[in-house]
């Protein structure tokens, strides 16, 4: 096995294994910390695909932002002395059947389709090109995304604010 294949299989096992823990763990805290390893594994896969900027973004935003927000959500929706943060599982068998069927269909499609092979992109630094695309051809979506973020954050603050006792 080549070193690249070894690294790939290790990262894939880390990603999928910890994702399984996220879904199946009985404790919310275990799920949240397993999600950390899933995000790190996906960032590693991005690196293997030559997407260095995206790997750094993944670490900064998912691990540094979204995961911390989710942990806040866990902490704020349970009583603090409630040590075992149980998360019940309902309708496990139908859900498992649907998920397994979905995986089978997706895997078969991915494996059997003759994908149009292009030249591919040799691994190279991407940050400069991505920045130029954002400031050039994709300026309008970029600005729309920034406005969406602003509106979403303001909306979130509005929703959770306590009503002023006028």
């Amino acid at each position: 096995m080549s070193p690249e294949a070894a690294v790939f299989y290790a990262l894939a096992a880390l990603t999928v294994g910890s994702a399984a823990v996220v879904v199946l763990a009985r404790s919310l805290i275990y799920s949240a910390f397993a999600l950390l390893f899933t995000f790190v594994g996906v960032a590693g896969l991005y690196l293997m695909l030559g997407a260095d900027f995206l790997a750094a973004t993944q670490l900064l935003i998912y691990v540094g932002g979204i995961l911390v927000l989710l942990l806040f959500g866990v902490m704020l929706t349970h009583k603090l002395y409630d040590l075992d943060l149980r998360s019940e599982v309902t309708q496990f068998l139908p859900g498992a059947i649907v998920a397994a069927g979905l995986f089978a269909i997706l895997a078969l499609t991915a494996w059997q389709t003759e994908w149009a092979g292009g030249a591919g992109r040799a691994p190279a630094a991407t940050t400069r090109d991505i920045g130029q695309l954002f400031m050039g051809r994709y300026l309008l979506p970029f600005e729309a995304a920034s406005i969406l973020l602003l509106v979403a954050l303001m909306g979130a603050a509005m929703i959770v604010r306590r009503k002023p006792s006028a």
């Binding site: 879904v23 949240a32 896969l45 695309l133």
Partner: protein, 100 residues
Amino acid sequence: MTLQHYLLVSAALFALGVLGLLTRRNAVNVLMGIELILNSANLNLVAFSRFGTGNLEGQLFAVFVIVIAAAEVAVALAIVLTLYRLRRTPNLDEADILKG
């Protein structure tokens, strides 16, 4: 490593995310399932960008998906906190106030 390997990993992530979405009662845990699904979509986009035509548009798309995910988590957690304040529960099936 070929495109198919990455697509398989992404399919597994997607299926696990759907499983979490369908089987969890806790709203925060459902959100984690949605994050898994978004990550699998991103992995697909980056893999096609690497092995396909070779331009960077797939990675740009992935950046937009990350932005949307951040906005989505912020709003969703605000809703979960409001629900918890109203009903003292983070479980989705107890959020039936609108049912007549």
